[in-house]
């Protein structure tokens, strides 16, 4: 009798493993030796989830009753391995998403604007040439790039080299001399940026992205009011972009570059001024569908441009397809809230602190994953981009690094601390609304009248602000209330 009793107890205890525990154990076993979760192992885990009888627990991996969300599985596994102190990088976890994305490539049309004002960037061996060469060389070899097409653009596309190979690129760069520009033709006298942009944008579709390289200096012509012209251009560009954005999800990266410039500069009155050996800004615009741009950004080729870029500005529309991944942290906190509802973004039974030191304060932390965003991490470090629906809340932003002490917050890029002394029932909305980057003002000039002598004017671009505003407005002005990223936290006492 005693034996039976003991046996029964042992049985009871040994059976105290939930399905999720078994799942965890299985996953940990798979990676313990080789620190890699391959496709076969991944599929085994997916099968486990599918076969599981405990639908309640495994619901976190599912979008609906039957479909498994690979992203959720991926995130869970990353967190699990971190919690188990298994240092496994995201790349070593097989993920159907990366697999799929790796297999979708697209064509890239590279447009070099060849108005006369560009000649100064290409005479001799310049920083401009080496920058472009290194960028194009990298992109050509990138797995997302199917075909690289090279060409010049002004009022049309006077020259084109389709399906360029590495030799073609080399040739394209090495032959970047004013003579070539002239020879390969086109209307080189006027820089109608709107027209150039329209030509480039017209070439875009889901199989084609574009890289536009230009100094983006407005050339209003001798008889025109420069300011009026620029505003006019700005509106035109905005309209073009708006039209395009209504049709398709286009994102763009604007890189401000610097290069030596030796040649003729045409002022807004179209007066040539010879500048020799000075530094001049120029710009690389990378335009394409959001996934295309995301891939280019994620490839980090832009950072690898030989001379580096001065500034980066990424423009993209709010992601509508994917929800922002955020997670309310159980701790640290001030006051109390129930763990129930955290998953859904609800703080239930919320209560302010009763301790003397923190009396009446309520604070919680939200880990947010901005990695899916095209914006650089630095963008999210800036409190100016955050708009809270309740101004009583103060925000503290802490960027998370994978190797930091916050190791177990892997999968999230930022930890937002939200604190208030006026706790009330509400839906706290956190919006991320980008502002026009400050550097645009810095590199933009209202006039180039004294460019010969004025170093500051030499290092600025005439009317670049108007151009940028046109694009900014197209992206963000008319989408008011639709911020770049948004999430809500329901607070109930």
């Amino acid at each position: 009798m005693k034996k039976i009793y003991i046996l029964l107890i042992a049985l009871c205890i040994s059976s105290c493993t939930s399905e999720i525990e078994s799942f965890n154990t299985l996953a940990v076993q798979m990676v313990r030796e080789d620190r890699v979760l391959d496709q076969q192992e991944y599929e085994k885990l997916i099968q486990y989830i599918q076969k599981s009888s405990d639908t309640e627990v495994f619901r976190v991996f599912k979008t609906d009753k039957a479909s498994i969300d690979p992203e959720q599985v991926h995130n869970y596994l990353i967190n699990l391995f971190k919690a188990k102190q298994l240092m496994i990088s995201s790349e070593n976890l097989w993920n159907p998403e990366t697999y799929l994305t790796a297999n979708t490539s697209f064509n890239i049309n590279v447009f070099l604007e060849n108005s006369a004002s560009m000649d100064g960037y290409v005479s001799g061996v310049t920083q401009f040439e080496s920058d472009i060469y290194s960028l194009l060389g990298n992109i050509k070899t990138a797995d997302f790039c199917d075909t690289l097409n090279l060409g010049y653009v002004n009022n049309g596309i006077p020259y084109r080299k389709r399906n360029a190979n590495l030799n073609d690129i080399q040739e394209f760069i090495e032959k970047l001399e004013p003579d070539n520009f002239k020879k390969r033709g086109g209307e080189r006298g006027v820089s109608d940026i709107k027209q150039v942009l329209d030509i480039v944008l017209n070439q875009l579709d889901q199989h084609h992205a574009a890289i536009l390289i230009s100094d983006f200096v407005f050339s209003p012509g001798r008889d025109k009011d420069a300011r009026e012209y620029m505003i006019h251009q700005s509106i035109g560009i905005k309209n073009s972009m708006t039209e395009l954005l209504e049709k398709s999800d286009v994102s763009m990266v604007v890189l401000q570059m610097n290069s030596t410039f030796s040649g003729m500069y045409y002022t807004h009155t179209n007066t040539p001024v010879k500048l020799t050996g000075i530094k001049r800004p120029y710009y690389i615009w990378i335009i394409g569908s959001s996934p295309q741009i995301k891939k280019i950004i994620d490839s980090h080729y832009l950072e690898q441009i030989k001379g580096g870029y001065q500034h980066e500005w990424i423009l993209n529309r709010p992601r509508e397809d994917q929800k922002l991944n955020f997670k309310i942290q159980y701790a640290p906190r001030i006051g109390y809230f129930s763990a129930h509802g955290i998953k859904e973004g609800h703080l239930l039974e919320a209560a302010s602190s009763r301790e003397d030191r923190t009396k009446d304060l309520f604070k919680f932390h939200v880990a947010v994953d901005f990695s899916k965003s095209m914006q650089p991490t630095a963008f999210f470090n800036n409190p100016a981009h955050y708009k809270l629906s309740d101004p009583d809340y103060t925000l503290v932003i802490e960027p998370l690094e994978n190797s930091s002490k916050q190791i177990k917050l892997s999968g999230y890029t930022h930890l937002l601390g939200l604190q208030t002394s006026h706790l009330r029932d509400e839906v706290l909305t956190i919006n991320l609304i980008p502002e026009l980057p400050a550097w645009i003002e810095e590199v933009s000039a209202e006039t180039d009248r004294d460019i010969l002598k004025d170093v500051a004017q030499q290092q600025r671009t005439l009317g670049f602000k108007y151009l940028a505003e046109g694009i900014y407005d197209a992206y963000y002005k008319h989408t008011e209330g639709r911020s770049l990223e948004q999430f809500e936290i329901t607070i109930k006492q």
Partner: protein, 153 residues
Amino acid sequence: MNNFFANLYEWFGFMPLYSSDMKDHLKGWDITCTDFIGTPWYVYIGSLMIITTGFVYALQYHIMDSPRFCEKKHWWLFALILTSFNFLMAMILTYHSIHSGNHCYQLRLGLSDSIGFGISNALWSLLLLMLISSFPLFRRWSTNCSYTTFWKP
């Protein structure tokens, strides 16, 4: 189920014997601090508590069912064994889960939480045993212990 046991072990909010972090851990707050998908200790230990209580009840009243063990002092002996077992089980299992790192790192858990839960578990097993054996509903099937309760004979 989880909520049922949670209410039970937390004494319906009147007498918490352990921290609110422990409550969430027992509800199954998972290792990745994501959701209540971890081991649902409440359900497990609660079920085990019910099973062991039922077993100890059955052991005294129906399996052994002996005139040697049918007095109230024997009832208390069985109750002592049961509560000790349930105390240790709840304490050791949860402490082991905490100690082996199978919990959300954000939870602050300690031995005192495990002890508190162990006490709660032991008390419930005692109450349940009292309940089962106080009404003649089940024990009337017993031959030798059909009149045995914690207060007589």
